[in-house]
């Protein structure tokens, strides 16, 4: 009776040994087709990546590129993303993978393996190693990193917020995770930007690990302990939404200025209602469409892809939020 499961196991193992010979041939056959196939592996299911997918789709349709969009990971981390990456790659016939790596080092080995199989890699939004693919390192194999200059963004947020606050007062930062390259750069940039204003000071940074409830509770406690905080920077969607709910719950709407990152519909509505004062909008759709574009040029024109492509960003404030030109920068599902 128990021999049957054993048999199944043995068969499966045997299959994993024997079948490659056939499969190898099949994969090459697919690769020879004229049509290009790109795959997109997002970092987590949130409006930022949904918007990026829209940009990717639009460009891919325009250029006649086949597109595979993998499952959206439900949490941020390699243990959620790598299995999805591998499963997507197992479909075969992929020429280029556009991925937002969820860890600067854990993704190196799996991506390198795919690269060695002949698949090109572009990292979008986040990167491998330190993000510099021009040096000769173990993580220099991707074609390019396309994403916002988070450090510069942080500096600009600091400048805008300082201007709103009359260049004085205490500030607090609520961010997601010390491990994520993009978000860490925002915090570093913000801190650096604030050093230009002698009467301002960042009194604390909290990590909410992408949990909105935690962001809310941390901010509430920070505000209660330091009633003289005048400005808060929430570094991504979840942080910013948690921060603004904390300010509302503390009854401090208006007294504390909130700067945030990522123009989700929720945050834009909050801006309209005066709960948030400044929103930096990245351009996820543009990042996506640039990735497809450069990938396409690489395959069709053998173009020299720059190691780093940096699209700009926009600022939403109460003044320009209803501006028709700005509407296209709002993230949508």
């Amino acid at each position: 009776m128990k021999k049957i499961p054993v048999l199944v196991l043995v068969l499966l193992f045997a299959a994993s040994l024997g079948l490659p010979l056939f499969a190898g041939g099949a994969q090459e056959a697919v690769g020879e087709e004229e049509e290009l196939t790109f795959a997109f592996v997002p970092g987590i299911a949130d409006p930022f990546y949904f918007t990026m997918e829209r940009g990717i789709r639009q460009k891919a349709d325009e250029l006649g590129v086949n597109l595979i969009v993998s499952e959206y990971p439900k949490s941020w981390g390699p243990e959620a993303q790598v299995p999805i990456l591998e499963a997507t790659a197992a479909r075969g016939g992929i020429d280029l993978i556009m991925i937002a790596p969820t860890s600067v080092d854990a993704l190196i080995a799996p991506l390198k393996k795919l690269h060695e199989q002949g698949i090109e890699i572009i990292t979008v939004d986040t990167f491998l190693g330190d993000g510099d693919y021009s040096k000769d390192t173990e993580y220099s194999f991707p074609l390019a990193y396309i994403g916002t200059d988070n450090h510069l963004g942080g500096v600009r947020v600091a400048e805008h917020l300082a201007e709103m606050l009359g260049e004085k007062g205490k500030l607090y930062i609520n961010t997601t995770n010390p491990d994520v390259s993009s978000v860490s750069a925002r915090v570093a940039g913000f801190k650096e930007g604030i050093t230009n204003f002698p009467n301002m000071e960042v009194i604390g940074v909290d990590y909410n690990l992408d949990v909105q409830q935690k962001a809310m509770e941390q901010t509430l406690s920070a505000l209660q302990k330091n009633p003289d905080i005048v400005g808060v920077f929430g570094t991504n969607v979840f942080s910013a939404q948690g921060v603004y709910q904390a300010v509302v719950n503390a009854g401090l709407t208006g007294a504390v200025k909130i700067a945030s990152w990522d123009a989700t519909e929720t945050l834009i509505n909050a801006l309209k209602e005066g709960q948030v004062d400044l929103v930096l909008a990245q351009k996820p759709a543009e990042i996506g469409s640039m990735a497809v574009d450069w990938g396409y040029k690489f395959f069709t024109e053998n173009a020299d892809v720059p190691n780093k492509v940096i699209p700009g960003f926009e600022f939403f404030t109460k003044e320009n939020v209803n501006d028709p030109d700005m509407q296209k920068f709002i993230y949508k599902k």
Partner: protein, 344 residues
């Protein structure tokens, strides 16, 4: 049974006094370390969590007293919150959304109650399965979307503060506590709950509809999960699929710390009340001291183990005292085969 109850009363009272002592001690401790803790607005934040954990813990006390448990509470709350969110986003009707959310949560509780009452699957396994199920359902409905933008009127449901300090959660919690405590101590329901935890067959043979009680207490717990979901939503103002994480943990800890035995038969709603406040103080205190979730989870785990050990030790002593009386009872009902499961 009544003699039984008299016999354990001294323990219960001293236990509750000890809990009160711990509560006061913790408040003083946090207040000394972080004076901001005593600002009324800050201090009353400890009740914010009582509106969520506490409401569920009150009904959970009933369930655990019968020797059962519900691991699915957190995800039932989450499912209900998501249903509220999606209904609201699609219809814009708050009342309808609340009704739907409460119905879904109640159905979730009923489902648990039905399986526990009608099959012999242990409550632990049943609710372990439905924990997956509820979580899966909410994830399928919501994906990782966040539903928000609820009207201010709805948020008042849990952000309203009397005298600009006392949160409305405290009112819900206290009112519910009086109701639940009354039925737990007076009348036949409480007696039957304890009897079921102590020796289910004995109660069954005495003509009590055990299955029906089981069904309805799990249903009640489901309904209160829905209510807690609404209270939580008002505070957080966004429905998403991480809401239910680690909630069952805190709820069960509140009940066990309050002196209810995990093996059933003995318990106290009053204990749960005080224990919930202790957890609320820890939650707010740790958050103020910037310990975030790390030490909090660790402490809750420690408290859980501590209350288990404390309980088993006192239980052992009590059992020795009451053994003769219990043997009598069992020989009457001839349920000798079940004594093993009765003592765990």
């Amino acid at each position: 049974m009544s003699a039984e109850a008299k016999n354990k009363k001294p323990f219960q009272v001293s236990h509750q006094l000890a809990l009160l002592g711990v509560l006061v001690g913790l408040i003083l401790l946090f207040g000394i370390i972080e004076p901001a803790f005593f600002i009324p607005r800050v201090f009353f934040d400890i009740f914010a969590i009582a509106g969520e954990i506490g409401i569920m813990a009150l009904a959970m006390t009933y369930v655990i007293t019968t020797g059962g448990v519900d691991l699915a509470v957190g995800y039932n709350l989450q499912m209900s919150a998501i249903v509220f969110g999606i209904t609201f986003v699609n219809t814009g009707n708050v009342v309808l959304s609340i009704i739907f959310a409460l119905i879904v949560a109640t159905l979730g509780g009923m489902f648990n109650g039905f399986i526990v009452a009608k099959t012999k699957i242990p409550p632990l396994v049943t609710t372990l399965g439905t924990m997956y199920l509820f979580r899966g359902i909410s994830m399928i409905i919501a994906g990782t979307a966040t539903y928000s933008g609820f009207p201010d009127g709805f948020k008042q449901f849990s952000t309203f503060k009397f005298f600009n300090a006392i949160p409305i959660q405290l009112v819900y919690f206290v009112v519910l506590f009086f109701i639940m405590d009354y039925f737990y101590r007076k009348g036949s329901l409480g007696r039957n709950l304890k009897g079921m935890g102590f020796n289910e067959n004995a109660v069954r043979f005495s003509g009590v509809k055990v299955d029906r009680i089981k069904f309805w207490i799990y249903t009640l717990l489901g309904l209160l999960c829905g209510f807690a979901a609404m209270v939580y939503l008002g505070r957080l103002s966004a429905a998403k699929t991480s809401m239910g994480d680690f909630m069952n943990f805190q709820v069960i800890t509140a009940v066990l710390l309050g002196g209810t035995s995990i093996m059933g038969g003995v318990g106290s709603v009053r204990g749960t009340f005080i224990a919930t406040l202790i957890i609320g103080v820890l939650h707010k205190g740790f958050s103020l001291l910037n310990f975030s979730g790390n030490i909090y989870n660790f402490t809750i785990g420690l408290i859980l183990i501590f209350s288990l050990i404390l309980y088993t030790l006192t239980e052992e002593r009590r059992k020795v005292k009451t053994r003769s009386r219990r043997d009598q009872l069992e020989s009457q009902t001839a349920a000798t085969g079940d004594s093993g499961s009765g003592t765990g």
